[in-house]
C-alpha cells in the first residue's frame, strides 16, 4: 500500500550528483556588445596596397597668401612723381622679421582686409630683414592715412605693369610632404588538445566547442584594435629601417611571436584624430570650455575655420551618443520655425524622433552619424576623442591639382604573405601539432595567429575637424 512519504532529494543527490540535469540557457549573452564597432572602412573609402612600410603624399600651398602687418611700422607721406603730388599718397610698411621675405613684388596691387583700400607696390627693399620694407602708392589719389593698420592682413590681389615693361620676378610655390607608417597588428589564440575536443554547455554559432568562441572573439578583438588605432593612434618616430630603434619588440619572454634574441623595430600608424590635430581644425564648444552643450555659434567656429582651410561643404559628422544628444538638444530647441524641428515630430504619425541626422546651416551640409567605437568605455568612450564630433568630408574625395579626384581616407596595407588568407588583408598562420591546416612541432595545441599590416592614409586632413563637446 502506498504510504505518504517524501523522497529526500538531498539524499539522492548525494548518491550521484550526475543524476540531476542542469538547466542552462545555451546561448551566451553578449553583454560586452563589441561586435558592432563601426569599421573604419565605413569611413575609409578604399584599400590600397602599400609596398613600403612608410608611404608619402604631397599637398600644394595656397597661391594667394595674406601678409600680417601685426607689429609692423606703418607711415604715410606725401609723394610726388613726374610733378604729380598726392597728399599722403605713399605708405611705407616695415614688416616684422616673422612676416618679412614674403612674395610681394613691385607692381603688385595690395589690399587691406579691414578697409578694403588697395595700393600699388612701388618698391620692396631691405631695412633690417630681407624684403621687409614695402612702399606703395595710392592708385586713385586718395590719401592712404589709416588705410593700412597693424591689425590688417594684407592680400596681394593683382599685378599691373606698364607698357613695354620687363616682366616681374617669378614666384615659386612649394609642396608639403605628409607621410604615415604601416603598423603590424596580431592577435593570437592557443587551445590545448583536451580543451579542443571537450564540449562545453554553451553554444556558439551552433557549435559546442570552446575554440569557436575563442576564434569569434579573436577576430573581433583584432578588428577593434585595428580600428581604434586607425582613429586614435599616434605615429611612431621609429621606423622598421632604424639602425637603433627606440620602439622595439618586448623581446621574447611571454611573446611567442617575437624573436628571443633580436629587438626588431616597431612602427605605429597615425590615426585620424592625430591627423586632425596636426593639420586640421580642433575646436571646443562653449567658448573653448566644453560643458556638454553646443550652440550654433560653436558650430560656426568650426565652419569658419574649415572655410578658411577651403574645405568642401558636405560633411559626415561622426560622434558617440552623448555628443549627438547635445546636438539633438540644440536643434530641437531652435523652435518650429526651422525645417529641422517640424520634420522630427512626424515619424509614423506617432513616434517623436528627437534625433537629427541632416542639417543644413551656414552653407554646410552636415550628416550626423553614430559611431559605437567612440562610446565603448574600454576603448574611446570618455577620452577627448570620444567626447568630440569628427567632421569628415562626406563624399570622402579630395581633388588633385590636375582636376581629378582621389579618396580622402584610405587604408594602406601590405598583402598578407600567409597562404591561409582569404582577402590578403588579414592573414592567418597556425602552429602546434593539432593545427588542422598546417600542423607543426610537438606541442599538443592548436595555435592560430591572425595578423595584418595596415596603416591609415589621409589626404587633405586640413578639411577635417574635431569638435569637443563633452566636458
Amino acid at each position: 500500500m502506498a504510504a505518504l512519504q517524501t523522497v529526500s532529494k538531498q539524499y539522492v543527490s548525494a548518491l550521484d550528483p550526475m543524476l540531476d540535469t542542469r538547466e542552462i540557457n545555451k546561448k551566451v549573452t553578449d553583454i560586452a556588445n563589441e561586435g558592432f564597432l563601426t569599421d573604419i572602412l565605413g569611413l575609409a573609402d578604399r584599400q590600397e596596397v602599400a609596398t613600403q612600410p612608410v608611404y608619402y603624399n604631397w599637398v600644394n600651398e595656397s597661391l594667394f597668401k595674406t601678409i600680417s602687418l601685426s607689429g609692423s611700422t606703418i607711415t604715410v607721406a606725401n609723394v610726388t612723381v613726374s610733378g604729380n603730388t598726392v597728399t599722403n599718397g605713399q605708405v611705407t610698411i616695415v614688416l616684422t622679421a616673422a612676416n618679412a621675405g614674403g612674395i610681394v613684388r613691385p607692381g603688385d596691387v595690395i589690399m587691406s582686409d579691414t578697409t578694403g583700400k588697395t595700393a600699388y607696390v612701388h618698391s620692396v627693399t631691405t631695412t633690417t630683414n630681407a624684403n621687409d620694407t614695402i612702399i606703395a602708392y595710392s592708385p586713385d589719389g586718395v590719401a592712404l592715412t589709416s588705410k593700412f593698420t597693424t591689425s590688417d592682413n594684407v592680400r596681394i590681389i593683382s599685378y599691373a605693369s606698364g607698357q613695354g615693361s620687363v616682366g616681374p620676378q617669378s614666384v615659386t610655390f612649394g609642396l608639403t610632404k605628409f607621410y604615415n607608417k604601416l603598423q603590424y597588428f596580431v592577435e593570437p589564440s592557443k587551445i590545448t588538445n583536451t580543451q579542443l575536443v571537450s564540449t562545453v554547455e554553451a553554444e556558439f554559432n551552433g557549435s559546442i566547442y570552446y575554440t569557436t568562441k575563442t576564434h569569434i572573439e579573436q577576430k573581433l578583438r583584432l578588428k577593434g584594435l585595428v580600428n581604434t588605432q586607425l582613429i586614435a593612434g599616434e605615429m611612431s618616430t621609429t621606423n622598421y629601417g632604424d639602425s637603433a630603434p627606440f620602439l622595439q619588440d618586448p623581446n621574447g619572454t611571454g611573446y611567442a611571436l617575437t624573436d628571443s634574441t633580436n629587438n626588431y623595430a616597431v612602427q605605429t600608424t597615425r590615426g585620424l584624430y592625430s591627423y586632425i590635430k596636426s593639420y586640421g581644425v580642433t575646436a571646443t564648444a562653449n567658448s573653448g570650455t566644453a560643458n556638454g552643450t553646443v550652440t550654433l555659434a560653436d558650430l560656426a567656429v568650426v565652419m569658419d575655420a574649415l572655410t578658411a582651410n577651403r574645405a568642401p561643404t558636405d560633411f559626415l559628422v561622426v560622434a558617440n551618443k552623448a555628443t549627438l544628444r547635445a546636438h539633438d538638444n540644440l536643434f530641437k530647441a531652435l523652435g518650429s520655425s526651422g525645417a529641422i524641428s517640424s520634420a522630427r515630430f512626424e515619424v509614423n504619425g506617432k513616434t517623436i524622433d528627437y534625433t537629427t541626422t541632416d542639417v543644413t546651416y551656414g552653407g554646410y551640409n552636415l550628416k550626423y552619424m553614430f559611431m559605437p567605437l567612440l562610446d565603448n568605455p574600454g576603448l574611446l568612450g570618455g577620452t577627448p576623442i570620444g567626447k568630440s564630433t569628427h567632421w569628415i568630408p562626406l563624399d570622402k574625395m579630395v581633388k588633385t591639382l590636375d582636376e581629378q579626384y582621389q579618396p580622402a581616407i584610405k587604408l594602406r596595407y601590405t598583402p598578407s604573405q600567409s597562404k591561409l588568407t582569404t582577402n590578403q588583408l588579414i592573414g592567418e598562420s597556425e602552429f602546434g601539432s593539432l593545427a588542422p591546416r598546417t600542423p607543426s612541432g610537438r606541442e599538443q595545441v592548436w595555435g592560430l595567429d591572425m595578423s595584418t599590416q595596415q596603416g591609415l592614409e589621409v589626404l587633405g586632413a586640413q578639411f577635417m575637424a574635431s569638435h569637443r563637446i563633452l566636458a
Partner: protein
C-alpha cells in the same frame, strides 16, 4: 582689459597689474604640436592644427582670498547678463599653422584676448593656473629665449675648450671615471669625450669639476682590470685575488657603485690604505696594457 559684466571678470586690481602690460606685439607659442621626424632629412618638426582657444574660463584670484572668478571675452550682453563670448582660433587663415600667433596692442579685441590668455588656465606660464586643465600655449619672451640659448651655447663652448686642453692622462682618467673603455685607442676616446661634452655640456662640466674625479677614475679602472669585484646581490666590493670583502653598501641604493666606493675611500678609516694599494696595482696593469697597445700598433 576684460569688460566687467555681472559676475564675469570681477578681478582684483593686483591680479590685473600682475599681467605685464601689452605694448606692441606679444607672441604666443602653441604647445599642442605633434612631433614628426622627416624621413629624409631626419629633421624634427612640430605640426600644429588650427585650435580654438578658451575665451571663457574659471580662475582663482590669489589677491582676493583665492576667490573663484569667471573670466571671458564678452561679445554680447543682454539686460545686464552675458549672452555670448568672442571666439579665437589660433592659426585661422594661415595655410599651414606654424604654431605661433601674436596679439597686437593696437587692436582692442587683441588686448581683451591678451588678458584672457594670460590669466586663463590654458597658459602654461600662468602661476595661478588650475593644473588639472590642459596647457595649450605659453607666451614667448624672445629675450629670455635668446639668453637661454646663448647660455647653452657658451656652456658647450666651455666644455669643448676643456676637452681641447686635455692631456692623454686626463682623457683616460675622465673615461675611467665614467666606466668607459679606459685604455682604448686615444683617438677614439678623444672623439667620445668630445661628443659627450658637445651633447651634455652641463653633465660634462659637473663631472670635470668633481674633486673626486681622480679617485673615481682609479675605482673605475680597478673594476675594469678586475682588481676589485662587485657583488650586485648584496652590493659588496671585494678584492678579487683575496676574495675578501672590503665594503658593503645599502642594497637598495641607486647610486652607481663607483661613486659609493669612492665615497668610502674618502671617508673610511682604512680608505687611504686601500687607495694606495689600489693605485699600485692598477698603475702596473695600466702600464702593461699600454705597452701591449704600443706593440700591436
Amino acid at each position: 582689459m576684460l569688460q566687467k559684466v555681472g559676475s564675469f571678470n570681477d578681478l582684483s586690481q593686483e591680479l590685473i597689474d600682475s599681467v605685464p602690460k601689452l605694448e606692441g606685439v606679444q607672441w604666443f607659442q602653441m604647445l599642442n604640436g605633434v612631433s614628426e621626424i622627416d624621413m629624409d632629412t631626419k629633421e624634427k618638426v612640430l605640426r600644429f592644427g588650427k585650435t580654438q582657444l578658451p575665451t571663457k574660463d574659471t580662475i582663482r584670484d590669489p589677491f582676493n582670498k583665492n576667490k573663484v572668478v569667471n573670466i571671458g571675452v564678452i561679445k554680447e550682453v543682454e539686460k545686464g547678463e552675458v549672452v555670448s563670448f568672442k571666439h579665437y582660433v589660433a592659426g585661422q587663415g594661415q595655410s599651414l599653422f606654424s604654431g605661433r600667433f601674436c596679439l597686437d596692442s593696437n587692436s582692442l579685441d587683441d588686448v581683451e584676448f591678451y588678458y584672457m590668455f594670460m590669466l586663463g588656465n590654458a597658459n602654461g606660464k600662468n602661476p595661478n593656473r588650475d593644473t588639472t586643465k590642459p596647457i595649450l600655449f605659453e607666451p614667448l619672451y624672445f629675450e629670455e629665449l635668446s639668453k637661454e640659448k646663448s647660455k647653452t651655447r657658451s656652456t658647450r663652448l666651455r666644455a669643448l675648450n676643456i676637452v681641447d686642453g686635455f692631456t692623454p692622462t686626463e682623457k683616460r682618467d675622465f673615461a675611467s671615471a665614467l666606466n668607459w673603455g679606459v685604455e682604448a685607442n686615444l683617438d677614439i676616446l678623444t672623439e667620445k669625450i668630445e661628443e659627450f661634452a658637445d651633447n651634455n655640456p652641463d653633465a660634462f662640466l659637473k663631472i670635470w669639476g668633481d674633486s673626486s674625479l681622480k679617485i673615481k677614475s682609479l675605482v673605475g679602472r680597478a673594476f675594469k682590470y678586475q682588481v676589485l669585484s662587485h657583488d650586485k646581490s648584496n652590493n659588496t666590493v671585494s678584492w678579487v685575488t683575496l676574495n675578501q670583502p672590503i665594503a658593503s653598501f645599502d642594497k637598495n641604493s641607486k647610486e652607481p657603485i663607483v661613486n659609493l666606493f669612492t665615497n668610502w675611500l674618502e671617508t673610511h678609516a682604512d680608505g687611504t690604505k686601500v687607495k694606495n694599494s689600489l693605485t699600485k696595482q692598477v698603475n702596473e696593469l695600466v702600464k702593461k696594457e699600454l705597452e701591449k697597445q704600443s706593440v700591436s700598433e
